[in-house]
């Protein structure tokens, strides 16, 4: 089992996400994280899905997703074939604000993006391991809430969806 990023370029139609995830569900492959956004091409949507599975399985999944009428093209990558980031938000009670916290924030290259009367929100971008490490530390600062996005990823190989659309 390995971690893979499945990257799909699709039309932006109702139900497309449903159709895509059904292919994972049917094969009993759990989706670790998922993001959807627009892409560089007008009207082309991209879905990025992180899974832990075997290479055989991920190849099958990619081929099956390509059979979906509104999927333009699917790819899969190992972690070293993509540049990816995740964003994490941490909600900390105002009472925890002290020099110790400030040090942690600096150390992790995190930043405070919002300060309210009762809490502050810290943001950090990075890989899961890093945002998780910060989470562990912030538990000592009575963290109130934590949320992390799925990965957004761009591929290192140079082929583009544009080339595919134009040929």
């Amino acid at each position: 089992m390995n971690r893979y990023t499945v990257s799909l370029f699709t039309e932006n139609f109702i139900g497309i996400l449903n159709r895509v995830t059904l292919i994972f569900t049917r094969r009993g492959v759990n989706i670790d994280a998922l993001t959807a956004s627009e892409s560089k091409e007008d009207g082309v949507h991209r879905i990025t899905i992180e899974v832990t599975t075997t290479e055989e399985q991920v190849i099958q999944i990619v081929k099956q997703t390509e059979k979906i009428i509104d999927v333009i093209k699917s790819f899969y990558y190992k972690d070293d074939e993509v540049v990816y980031q995740e964003i994490a938000l941490y909600k900390i009670p105002i009472s925890s604000l002290d020099p110790g916290l400030e040090k942690v924030i600096r150390q992790y290259n995190a930043r405070i993006i919002s300060a309210e009367k009762e809490f502050v929100v810290i943001e950090m971008t990075g890989h899961k391991e890093d945002t998780k490490a910060l989470l562990e530390i912030l538990k000592d600062f009575n963290i109130l809430e934590f949320a992390r996005s799925g990965r957004v990823a761009v591929a290192k190989p140079m082929g583009t969806i544009e080339q595919y659309l134009n040929n």
């Binding site: 699709t10 039309e11 109702i14 139900g15 449903n18 159709r19 059904l22 049917r26 190849i59 099958q60 081929k63 099956q64 390509e66 059979k67 009428i69 509104d70 999927v71 333009i72 659309l165």
Partner: protein
């Protein structure tokens, strides 16, 4: 100025007419009533067949599509009407049958409110359709239908579902039908690569014992002639899958038989002896391969296939030729050497003799008193024309009929292969018959399966389709009983049936009938049925506990075929 707009419901019908649809198989209800109302004025342009159940409608559309090669159309109302289509949708998906299913839906303002007869049929059918869509605006109806037809029939065909809200059916819109010619995210026919063909030719040219397996892809691609040309030049022995039957005449000198669990002995055994396995338009279903770990491991596999997801799915290909075999086969035929494989073919013929004495002769020329299913098929062969269509249900009779029916021409085989849907045959036979009234259609069905869609005798009556129904009655869910006998210590748990008087039922539907219990009556009854020019119902009471052999038990290798 006169308003040129028409109702959405009429746009539905005009779109179907624009697609040259000949038949709609359907069943009305509240949410589709505007379309039925519009249909009333189009009886001269499109025929509607009122089945007795929506499952009957979709299986009939499947039978029609499989015989005609065109898109089958079926229609149902929302809620229960739509959900009754689901089995047929799944069946059409796995057997690659082109269908457009149109369902009515509650008015768009009511969507999501649990309105009367509202079901999320788009959600229900999403994993089972090639494509589906809900249309909520009148202007989207024609484009959706155009797109649906294009998707259903192109590439690897499949079922499409178009759910149309009642307000869209009632609203007024312009009708301007533009057929769909392409979708940017959908490439149904990948271009065949010369390099792949060249590699395939090289592997085939150096083979000592090459072996061709052909499937329904050849029929779908209308590549029967191309297959024959390839075989004629190369001299390679060829075996077929269940749905590939008929793509090549069984009279062809290199035809060696049928593959799979209840296929022929030689084609299964020798799969593990060949050195190059050439799979053409087939998908290595588990009923064909048995245990994959012991399947053709010695062979280099060349796979000609249109659906990229089938390549390397079950069996790894040494050379994959992606594309329509209609295109790839002639390219390959040009590059391969003229050859013959007499010695290798003899190996098939030797094993064939073994099957003949151990199984076939007992099935076709039984000496025991009870009637066998095999001898019924033998008589059907005697009286049928070359292009007669065999429609079968699911079970022992399906496998026996398939084994012994003489397939001479293409599109003569209609059965539920991938899904194994009991109840498929009666409505499918009706659809098959309507696709071509000049061809004989024989529906071979079991006493279990017929009772799943027996109401369609009513549709046969109303349409007066000259379908020949052959009920092989063993008073058992025979195939399940066979497994119970072989693998569950003969514990016949809930497989014996107390059956009704089938002849009375058929007579109630005004069918000409006959019932055979004795061997001496069989030939005459089959003959009478085959020349009768209307619907006919023949019940043959067969031996209760006969088994279908050869058999490759689940999980066994193709070499572990049992002859008894």
């Amino acid at each position: 100025m006169k308003d040129s707009r028409i109702r959405g419901a009429e746009i539905v019908i005009k779109s179907l007419v624009a697609e040259n649809s000949e038949y709609i198989f359907g069943y009305p209800g509240g949410a589709i009533m505007p379309v039925y109302d519009a249909l009333y004025d189009y009886a001269d342009q499109i025929k509607h067949v009122l089945t007795r159940h929506e499952q009957g409608a979709i299986h009939a559309a499947q039978g029609y599509a499989r015989v005609s090669g065109k898109v089958g159309v079926c229609m149902a109302t929302s809620g229960p009407g739509a959900t009754n289509l689901i089995t047929g949708i799944a069946d059409a998906m796995i057997d690659s049958t082109p269908l457009v299913c149109i369902t009515g839906q509650v008015a768009s303002a009511l969507l999501g409110t649990d309105a009367f007869q509202e079901t999320d049929v788009v959600g229900f059918s999403m994993p089972g359709t090639k494509w589906n869509i809900q249309v909520r605006r009148v202007e989207d109806i024609a484009p959706a239908i155009a797109k649906g037809f294009h998707i259903a029939r192109s590439g690897r065909p499949g079922p499409v579902l178009i759910d149309i809200t009642k307000d869209a059916q009632n609203d007024l819109g312009e009708f301007n039908y533009v057929p769909c010619l392409g979708i940017r995210s959908y490439r149904p026919y990948p271009k065949v690569k010369e390099t792949q063909v060249a590699q395939a030719a090289e592997v085939i040219n150096s083979a000592k014992k090459p072996y061709v397996l052909y499937g329904q892809g050849v029929v779908i691609g209308k590549a029967e002639e191309e297959l024959k040309a390839f075989l004629d030049k190369t001299g390679i022995p060829a075996a077929c899958t269940l749905l590939g039957s008929g793509a090549l005449s069984e009279d062809h000198p290199q035809y060696v038989g049928k593959l799979g669990m209840h296929g022929n002995y030689a084609p299964n055994m020798l799969t593990n002896q060949c050195d190059v396995l050439i799979a053409i338009g087939m998908r290595f279903d588990d009923r064909v391969t048995g245990d994959l770990k012991r399947y053709a491991k010695q062979a280099k596999v060349v796979h000609l296939e249109l659906d990229n997801a089938e390549i390397d799915k079950n069996v790894k290909a040494e050379v994959a030729v992606l594309g329509d075999c209609k295109e790839s086969l002639p390219m390959l035929t040009e590059k391969v050497n003229q050859n013959s494989h007499e010695e290798w073919l003899k190996e098939f013929r030797t094993l064939e003799e073994k099957e003949k004495s151990a199984v076939v002769s007992l099935d076709l020329l039984p000496t025991k008193s009870g009637l066998t299913m095999g001898e019924v098929i033998r008589y059907i062969n005697d009286y049928k024309k070359d292009d007669a269509i065999l429609v079968t249900d699911v079970g022992q009779h399906q496998m026996i009929a398939w084994r012994y029916f003489k397939y001479k021409t293409t599109r003569t085989q209609v059965t539920s292969g991938g899904l194994g849907t009991m109840g498929f045959s009666l409505p499918a036979a009706l659809g098959a018959q309507l696709a071509d009234l000049n061809r004989q259609v024989v529906c071979v069905v079991g006493d279990g399966g017929i009772q799943m869609t027996i109401q369609e005798l009513g549709t046969i009556m109303q349409t007066q389709s000259p379908v020949k129904v052959v009920l092989l009655n063993n008073n058992f869910l025979g195939m399940v009983r066979q497994w119970q006998q072989l693998f569950f210590d003969k514990r016949y748990s809930f497989t014996e049936l107390d059956n009704p008087d089938f002849i009375k039922i058929a007579e109630a539907y005004n069918m000409k009938t006959s019932k055979v219990t004795e061997r001496e009556d069989l030939s005459d009854s089959v003959a009478e049925m085959m020349i009768h020019d209307g619907p006919y119902f023949l019940e043959v009471v067969v031996e209760k506990e006969d088994n279908v052999f050869p058999m490759i038990p689940t999980g066994c290798s193709v070499e572990e075929v049992r002859l008894s």
